[in-house]
């Protein structure tokens, strides 16, 4: 399975993270997204006319939407990551998968503006990001009141992975995560999962590993 990947892209990270959690090895093909704009070049446009990354290739299957990639990877080797136990789970999963595109448009847009100087109305992007974070926070509060730690049910699903990266990187776009205690606890729960991997800007929980010790003569 081949992923056209950019290390700093939160959408590409969703796929790398899901594959790591599902125990699937990806063949990573680095794309020169910045400054080369390789995703807008003739070779990648013939693979994905939308000119976006990630792109996932598996045999004849070519996927260009990250939520579809998460569903594919989970269906192949980690079906417990799909919310399929009830009509309500299915609906909630679809709800948050669709919601994740608003995180990309708002928080992701603010991040591209701040990091890569992409044009855009930064105040509107940030205000949209705050509105999305408030909605996510309210949803997580209600899940906690129902005794559930994740977006769909009491175990993580692809919906959590779809929402997590752009939320965790909100500060890159100048949007603070400080006012959202439920999001903070949810982010910790995701970063505590067995098999969790990092990307630049999203670090693992150091306290989960024993304290490293330098030998006296190394110092």
């Amino acid at each position: 399975m081949k992923l056209y990947d950019y290390i700093l892209s939160p959408s590409c990270y969703k796929v790398r993270l899901m594959a790591a959690l599902a125990g699937i090895k990806l063949d990573l093909r680095a794309v020169d997204f910045h400054p080369g704009l390789e995703h807008r070049g003739p070779d990648l446009l013939s693979l994905n006319p939308a000119g976006s990354i990630p792109i996932l290739e598996d045999g004849d299957l070519v996927l260009t939407e990250s939520s579809a990639m998460l569903a594919y990877i989970a269906s192949l080797s980690a079906p417990e990551w799909l919310g399929r136990a009830s009509a309500m789970e299915t609906a909630r999963e679809q709800q948050w998968l669709a919601f994740s595109s608003r995180l990309t448009a708002t928080l992701g847009g603010a991040r591209l503006h701040e990091m890569l100087l992409r044009p855009g109305d930064i105040a509107a992007l940030q205000a949209g990001g705050v509105a999305s974070l408030r909605e996510l926070e309210a949803g997580l509060v209600e899940q906690r009141l129902a005794g559930q730690a994740f977006l769909v049910t009491d175990r993580p699903t692809i919906a959590d992975i779809a929402c997590f990266p752009y939320v965790a990187l909100a500060p890159d776009g100048g949007v603070s995560l400080d006012p959202y205690p439920a999001i903070r606890l949810w982010s910790r729960a995701i970063r505590s999962l067995k098999g969790f991997i990092e990307m630049p800007g999203i670090h693992r929980l150091h306290e989960l590993k024993p304290e490293p010790h330098l030998e006296q003569d190394e110092a």
Binding site: A123, Q126, A127, V130, A131, R134, E137, A138, V141, E142, L145, A146, S176, D178, P179, P181, A182, R184, L185, R188, H203, L205, H206, E207, E211, P212, H213, L214, E215, Q216, A219
Partner: protein, 217 residues
């Protein structure tokens, strides 16, 4: 607002939002602090600045009974003294390396931090139980107007929305924002708690709309 000048307690977070082994930032009138709880449950509050390179300690991590800086791992105890400098494992850090700490209490499901030296204990919550905390891009007056009730000198506002008693603990934040801790009557069931959470979202919208603000924070 207050007649006493000796000090007061600020409600900074719900106890449930600060589990063992975590650190979070909390905003006080005087600036940001790092609020943390050790693995065995002891709570502490310190200045949010590592004296080594100025990194925010609230970006750090709690391992066992110490708070460590994310930058170079300098570790601090509850009393604020530096316990360990990883790059110099043989060194006992001098006592002069320390962070300023604040008196902190964990009562009634709320974490309270002292400004100055409060004359007494944090206020009693009179049969209310904490539900959630949220931040409004509106000041205390706008929230009072939306709630139809005034906050007392401790920042405690009791109101009734859609037949449900709610207690809001208000703490002023920088730039005209307000941190709201929402409390419901003890014994409220899950449906009542969800209703209360939604009521306060609505109250926040009303207060922000009256303040003519867009909600950026």
């Amino acid at each position: 607002m207050r007649s006493d000048t000796t000090g007061f307690w600020t409600p900074v977070a719900l106890s449930a939002d600060l589990p063992a082994g975590t650190v979070i930032p909390a905003r006080m009138a005087a600036g940001t602090i790092a609020l943390w709880r050790s693995q065995t449950g002891h709570i502490a509050a310190s200045a949010d600045r590592c004296p080594h390179r100025g990194m925010s300690l609230s970006h750090g991590f709690v391992r066992g009974e110490v708070l460590s800086c994310i930058y170079h791992g300098w570790s601090y105890g509850r009393a604020g003294n530096c316990l360990r400098i990883p790059a110099h494992p043989g060194l006992t850090p001098p006592d002069a390396i320390r962070v300023v700490t604040h008196d902190v209490r964990d009562t009634g499901g709320i974490v309270w931090v002292a400004s100055g030296i409060p004359a007494g204990d944090p206020p009693d919550l009179d049969g209310f139980t904490p539900l959630r905390s949220l931040t409004a891009d509106a000041d205390r007056a706008a929230l009072a107007l939306a709630a139809g009730a005034q906050a007392d000198e401790d920042g405690r506002l009791v109101t009734n929305i859609a037949g449900q008693d709610l207690c809001l603990l208000l703490a002023d934040q920088p730039e005209g924002r307000t941190l709201i801790h929402v409390l419901v009557r003890s014994g409220s069931d899950a449906a009542a708690r969800i209703a209360a959470s939604r009521s306060v979202e609505r109250l926040r919208r009303m207060a922000e709309s009256a303040s003519h603000k867009g909600g950026v924070q």
